[in-house]
Amino acid sequence: MTDHDASMGSDRPGHEGHEDAPGSDVVLSSRVRIARNLDGIPFVNRASSEQCEYVVRTARHLLLHVPLNERMIWVDLEQSSSHERQLLVERHLISRQHAENTIHRGVAVAENERASVMVNEEDHVRIQVLRPGLQLRAATEACMTLDDSIGNHMDYAYRERWGYLSACPTNVGTGIRMSAMLHLPALRLTNDIGRVRQAAKDLHLAVRGFYGEGSESTGNFYQISNQITLGRSEDDILEEFESTIIPGLVQYEQAARQVLLDKHRRSLEDRVFRAFGTLGTARMLKLDEAMKLLSRLRLGVCLDMLKDAAESITLDTVNTLMLLVQPGHLRQHVGGQISPEDARGARADIVREILIGE
């Protein structure tokens, strides 16, 4: 329970890439976050520097000294380097917005990286819990336990009518946002992503990219989350996500994969093996290209296409690579700042090393 330099130890955060996690062929990870604010203090967009500093000091003390269900490490974002913040973003422990505005901002990260508490992002406190695969119930329960522990020591802004108050009208009420990171390559290939987006819109769901708000879809990953936080209980939102929405999307993707296998097996295999061939031989890889090829490889692994050709390549291998090819992790691997050209070379090297042991 100490301050930390944000150097991430393991190759993979605790919430991603466990191939034995439920629904992991389509669901990469589940995330639940809760927005909370201190009563009597302006929200971050209107708070003075002194007030922001007070919130950080209070939250840091609480998160490091109050018994929580997770052991926390504190990262002062003001003192951290842009490289350290980039690592935190790539591991989904802070948002990109939180990495950009750093004055009087911090984050407490659970040692196992399955939870983090962002301080002075858009709201004073944002508690988030991450789990591999489809584990929204476990993530929600862990998030509420953290919320209870913190709430016992913090005077949360709350009104009978509105529930928990937030800086943005879209978060008031429960302040809870549930999301699942889905890998939907088959729906992309069958041109059904538009239908997913339309259905999501009708159900008041947000469809975002790999790094949440404001990010584009990369590698056919889509983050699906609830947009309504008022007038619906946490249990209600969870029930709908867990029993209907996410299983429905998972089945839709699985059905599309089956259609491709039944009607276009050769063409699908060609796509997967070309991706494998390029990843196993390329000497330079741009990030977008690497993610696109890894997405195809991931689909091939899920459909057992690579069993004979490369038995050692598992879902875990591909999930790990998707993290290691990100700019911050690549820089960490190389051990220093590198030029864009060298980064493309280093990216290809690490992919070959892990995929084919070269």
């Binding site: 009104r159 009978e160 209980s233």
Partner: protein, 169 residues
């Protein structure tokens, strides 16, 4: 085009583009005045005259939150609320804004704070049960609906003191 706050025709239209995001504000004459927008008829046509007469500023000042100084026009413009007290200061217009952002929802249903008073807790529980009843009926789960209905009548008969067991819903 209608006013963003009420159903009257909008007479003031403002379009701002910040960081590539377009925001439009449309207000009727009353809400434009409330937001501190000067109406054409209010100002002298001549700037010099306005300096002399001192009437260049709108005659009706927009109300501001006494805690953080935020006006409702600023809340609308940035889609960000200034502080917890803004929720009390701008309860009515903010309520309409929240209702639109939250697909028509007007009241919280869900967990409450640890130190919530018993009356607030009872109202929240009642809302939660009413919602559960509607869900059960829509799914034709009549046994469950009957259980919930019994719980609602128990709750309405109980005194506030009797409903304080447990901290969280």
């Amino acid at each position: 085009m209608k006013c963003d706050i009420c159903d009257k025709p909008a007479v003031v239209h403002e379009v701002t583009i910040a960081h590539g995001v377009k925001k439009e504000v449309h207000l009727c004459i009353d809400h434009a005045r409330e937001a501190g927008v000067a109406m054409p008829g209010q100002q002298p046509g001549n700037k010099l005259l306005s300096k002399i007469s001192g009437s260049g500023k709108p005659t009706v000042m927009a109300p501001r939150c006494p805690e953080c100084g935020t006006s409702f026009a600023q809340v609308r413009q940035h889609s960000l609320i200034g502080c917890p007290a803004c929720y009390d200061t701008f309860e009515e217009p903010l309520g309409r804004l929240i209702e639109r952002a939250q697909a028509g929802a007007t009241h919280h249903i869900g967990r409450g704070v640890a130190n919530e008073d018993s009356q607030s807790k009872r109202q929240r529980e009642e809302r939660q049960l009413m919602q559960a009843l509607a869900t059960a009926l829509s799914r034709e789960q009549y046994e469950r609906a009957a259980e919930i209905r019994d719980r609602i009548s128990q709750l309405s008969q109980a005194t506030p003191e009797e409903t304080t067991e447990g901290d969280k819903a």
